[in-house]
């Protein structure tokens, strides 16, 4: 688009966009469908070794490790211990080997001798809280306030108790959320390309390319500025890949020792046991409502199951207005690996319980499920979004609007709702460069990694819009610490952090190019117009140059400008509502999600096509959390018994409902907001509510497996 405004950069009116806010094909599409996209796990460099970790097979142990037997295997090049003394959870790596082939590396890992003495452990919530339970670690009691020992809870407890007494209808329930895994398809790891000397390149599967040189430099024994990180393509992160992890550290240590490149990636078991989960939670809630639908009181007692970690911060009453609320926020530790950030850390767990409570209260006073939400949410965005999802899901024609189905018959259908919030704003620190070559080529560069969200395509779209070109005319360069500073991709900050830099760089480059072309086109710089692959003076659109011819007038070195973050081009504050329609088989307890609708705002949507994919993906992960996924620990052995993709059930082709992802077009903010997290929040609550709405079975424990449905149905009759 022409972008004739020469002042400070702005996204311009949506009606004027030619590239932005239009469905634009992912530029990495062809290489991905051809299997030619090279992920870090695909990288092979000459002389490369394959690494393998040796992991402890018990929950907590004191151990010694002898790596020498591995070295007796021909083809094993190095074997090193990684730690000594004790471990806190199953799967902790204690040694590593590297060999000429992956098969020999496995032989080597099997040959390492680990002598261990199991120690007392707890791996489930019940055992962690039992009197006299073994203490998880010496750092803190198993059950402790997340805010420290002085944390006596949030809110006014006496006022909350009074408000509960004054309520017309009160509910009390305990909500359980199982631990979910990120289950990225590309596992954690990296290739440390080091052949001796004082430089190295790390090809990592990471959400923070710029964080890797600092972490890798130590184990490699190099200066940080001599370590480069490349993340050309990445097979998913979802919050799990913020450090280089033990696999990365071990690869660097071994590469440094033998002066040969080492590639080391987790196997699937290690990925489950040690490399990423969303914390579980147990929430005991008591809440009261007035006859008119106002939620008057909520008392919550929350345990966050973050393993050896504390779990995330989100608390009740989530985003609802509750007159008086009091919340106790505890960490309940177990001998399992720490939870990590996962798409809106803490929010889906809290949302599931809160949305369930809202429905329970609504049914108690005979209120409409949409109306009670609007009554207790003040932001008008939620009101219009709830109305829209209700319309799309067919709420007004639905039979169970103020009372759930009775659980009789065979097949029952129900509808449920949920809402969410997230920041999604960016921050300073990143930079971008846009370069025009004399041959007409345009490159747009920023070091940021693309986890699969589609950032790479935005990196091309933004300058394309500015220069009147198509996204495919611009070469995006990303995922490399030798490019201008990127940003860590977490908390939905990526788009709002990098898009402003790209806009600024594009804008500056265009102004400089216009200045240069003014004499060629014999007009003032401000009248140089870029549109539809042409450049012309505003007053003489038919006497212009093609883009290529215009570029040919540039000096040999072309033209380049860098841009930095401009706060006004982004904002924060995303709102969304979702509705689910489910079918419950009352004979078997099986639940099938038939349809889900998301209405989501996120300011100016730069690429609606990839935006919809992201929202769909979030809903699908919610289906997993609601119905299928959950880590299963064996309490006596202390190990995870479903640490593989066969026994840990992810949503697959047979479980995908009709999905409708709608941009809330009444959000007219001319600024970008990230959308990675917000749509991942409300789905599980909406599905649990839909199940109850269908048949009257209130299941307060995720995942909602058929046995739980049958048990709840049995209690009804």
């Amino acid at each position: 688009m022409t972008s004739q405004d020469n002042g400070t950069p702005s996204w311009g009116a949506r009606a004027d966009h030619r590239v932005l806010n239009k469905d634009t094909r992912r530029l990495s599409g062809p290489e991905k469908v051809k299997g030619e996209a090279i992920y870090s796990i695909d990288r092979h460099v000459p002389d490369m070794l394959y690494g393998k970790l040796v992991c402890i097979p018990v929950a907590k142990a004191e151990f010694t490790v002898d790596v020498d037997p591995a070295m007796e295997i021909e083809g094993v090049v190095i074997a090193i211990p990684l730690r000594e003394g004790s471990t806190l959870y199953n799967g902790q790596a204690v040694a590593a080997v590297a060999a000429e082939t992956p098969e020999l590396a496995e032989d080597g890992a099997r040959a390492v001798v680990v002598n261990y003495t199991p120690q007392g452990f707890v791996v489930t919530a019940e055992s962690a809280k039992a009197p006299g339970a073994p203490q998880v670690s010496s750092r803190s009691p198993n059950h402790a306030p997340r805010g420290g020992s002085n944390d006596k809870g949030r809110g006014d407890m006496d006022a909350t108790m009074e408000a509960l007494d004054a309520s017309d209808f009160v509910v009390e329930a305990e909500f359980d959320v199982a631990i979910q895994h990120h289950a990225c398809l590309e596992t954690h790891g990296l290739l440390a390309d080091f052949k001796g000397g004082d430089e190295a390149t790390i090809y990592a599967s990471t959400q923070v390319a710029f964080g890797i040189p600092g972490s890798a430099a130590g184990p490699l024994g190099l200066d940080r500025q001599n370590v480069r990180c490349v993340v050309e393509h990445m097979g998913g992160g979802f919050g799990a890949k913020f450090s280089m992890d033990v696999a990365g550290r071990a690869a660097c240590l071994m590469a440094a020792e033998v002066g040969r490149p080492v590639s080391m990636f987790n196997d699937r078991r290690q990925e489950f046991e040690t490399s990423g989960n969303r914390s579980g939670s147990i929430q005991r809630i008591k809440a009261g409502v007035a006859k008119d639908g106002e939620i008057l009181a909520m008392h919550s007692d929350m345990d966050k199951l973050g393993g050896v970690g504390r779990g995330p911060g989100a608390v009740q009453p989530y985003i609802y207005n509750v007159l008086e609320s009091f919340t106790l926020d505890y960490a309940l530790h177990t001998n399992t690996d720490s939870s990590r950030a996962m798409r809106a850390p803490g929010h889906p767990q809290v949302s599931f319980a809160m949305e369930s409570v809202v429905d329970m209260l609504a049914y108690g006073i005979g209120a409409d499920l949409v109306e009670i939400r609007k009554r207790n949410l003040s932001d008008p965005a939620y009101h219009r979004q709830l109305d829209r999802v209700a319309q799309e899901i067919g709420w007004n024609e639905h039979q169970h609007r103020t009372a759930p189905g009775k659980g009789d018959g065979w097949i029952a259908e129900g509808i449920g709702f949920g809402v969410s919030t997230w920041g999604g704003g960016g921050g300073p620190g990143a930079a971008a460069e846009v370069r025009i070559e004399r041959d007409g080529g345009v490159t747009s560069s920023i070091g940021v990694q693309d986890l699969g969200t589609g950032v790479r395509t935005l990196v091309a779209m933004i300058p394309a819009e500015e220069f009147g070109l198509q996204a495919s005319d611009v070469l995006p360069r990303i995922g490399d610490t030798q490019l201008p500073n990127g940003v860590g991709s977490g908390g939905s900050v990526t788009t709002a952090s990098v898009a402003p830099c790209l806009k600024d760089a594009s804008h500056k480059t265009r102004l400089a190019f216009a200045e240069h072309l003014a004499s060629v086109l014999k007009c003032e710089a401000k009248d140089v117009t870029f549109a539809d692959g042409k450049v012309f003076a505003k007053s003489a659109p038919d006497r212009g140059l093609t883009w290529k011819d215009a570029c040919a007038t540039l000096p040999a070195e072309g033209l380049a400008r860098t841009g930095k973050w401009i706060g006004d081009l982004q904002t924060s504050g995303a709102h969304g509502a979702q509705a689910a329609r489910v079918q419950v088989d009352l004979m078997t307890g099986a639940v099938k999600v038939l349809k889900m609708v998301a209405v989501q705002d996120s300011g100016l949507v730069l690429n609606p096509l990839t935006w919809r994919s992201q929202v769909n993906g979030a809903m699908i992960q919610s289906i997993g959390l609601a119905l299928y996924e959950g880590r299963v620990m064996e309490p006596d052995l202390g190990i995870q018994i479903n640490a593989n993709l066969g026994d840990y059930k992810l949503p697959g082709c047979m479980e995908i409902p009709e999905l409708v992802a709608i941009v809330d077009d009444e959000d007219t903010r001319q600024a970008v907001i990230g959308v990675g997290e917000p749509p991942a929040i409300p789905g599980a609550g909406a599905i649990a509510n839909a199940i109850h709405n269908a048949c009257g079975a209130r299941i307060t424990s995720l995942p909602i497996t058929p046995d739980k449905v049958l048990e709840a149905l049995a209690k009804l009759s």
């Binding site: 062809p30 469908v33 299997g35 032989d107 097979g235 986890l451 699969g452 969200t453 769909n616 047979m654």
Partner: protein
């Protein structure tokens, strides 16, 4: 360079009809091989031939003759990715247990998970991967539709889905969404591209039918 543990065995060629059993001995770096014809009748009596060390496996990869030298226990997935020269990484390694479909390749046009297929099984056979679907820059109908419908996000599951969908539509380009779902039910996508994969497959099927009509 990969070590060749037993140079004599390296020259051993498997016949097209070689048959394997006893893959459980993989930890020792060897498997048992015998003629398939004999296998049915003599499996319990014949002294099986033991493959050891490193063997050469010759096959066609996306139409081109090629070979790898691998220990008999090596999976086709590892052979392609880690032993083939140059490394062929179109098939992805995700679970190595047959659970995810990311490593799906076509062997003589049948979709198989290459992580549960020993490399020696493809002696003399035709292996197709996502890298062999396009004609140069001309994407196959499945690939083209997947790009158009944004049926890929991180893209790590994508080559596997492309192969499952291709196998399904080559048998029946008029496949319904239900049939596409079944054909891809062994493939997992964590990013959540499923709805776009289904729509792309239907679109590709229509394009293939159209091309067949045009071609006749």
């Amino acid at each position: 360079m990969k070590p060749v543990q037993d140079p004599e065995a390296a020259n051993q060629r498997l016949s097209r009809r070689s048959f394997l059993k006893g893959a459980g001995g993989a930890a020792a770096g060897s498997v048992l091989a015998t003629e398939m014809a004999q296998a049915a009748s003599e499996a319990h009596t014949a002294e099986p031939e033991v493959l050891k060390g490193v063997v050469q496996v010759s096959f066609h990869l996306n139409g081109q003759p090629t070979s790898v030298q691998v220990e008999p226990r090596t999976t086709l997935l590892s052979a392609l990715r880690n032993h083939h020269n140059p490394p062929h990484t179109a098939a992805k390694s995700v679970c190595e247990q047959g659970n995810c479909g990311a490593c799906t390749v076509l062997i003589d046009d049948q979709p198989v998970v290459s992580c549960l297929t020993l490399a020696v099984r493809v002696e003399g056979r035709h292996v197709r991967t996502a890298a062999g679907l396009a004609q140069g820059d001309q994407l196959s109908p499945v690939q083209e539709a997947m790009c158009a419908d944004d049926a890929l996000m991180c893209g790590f599951c994508t080559p596997g889905f492309a192969m499952s969908v291709t196998a399904c539509l080559e048998k029946n380009p008029a496949a319904s969404e239900e049939e596409v779902r079944r054909a891809c039910s062994g493939n997992l996508c964590r990013c959540g591209t499923y709805p776009h994969i289904f729509s792309a497959a239907l679109k590709a099927g229509r394009a293939m039918l159209q091309a067949q009509k045009g071609g006749k």
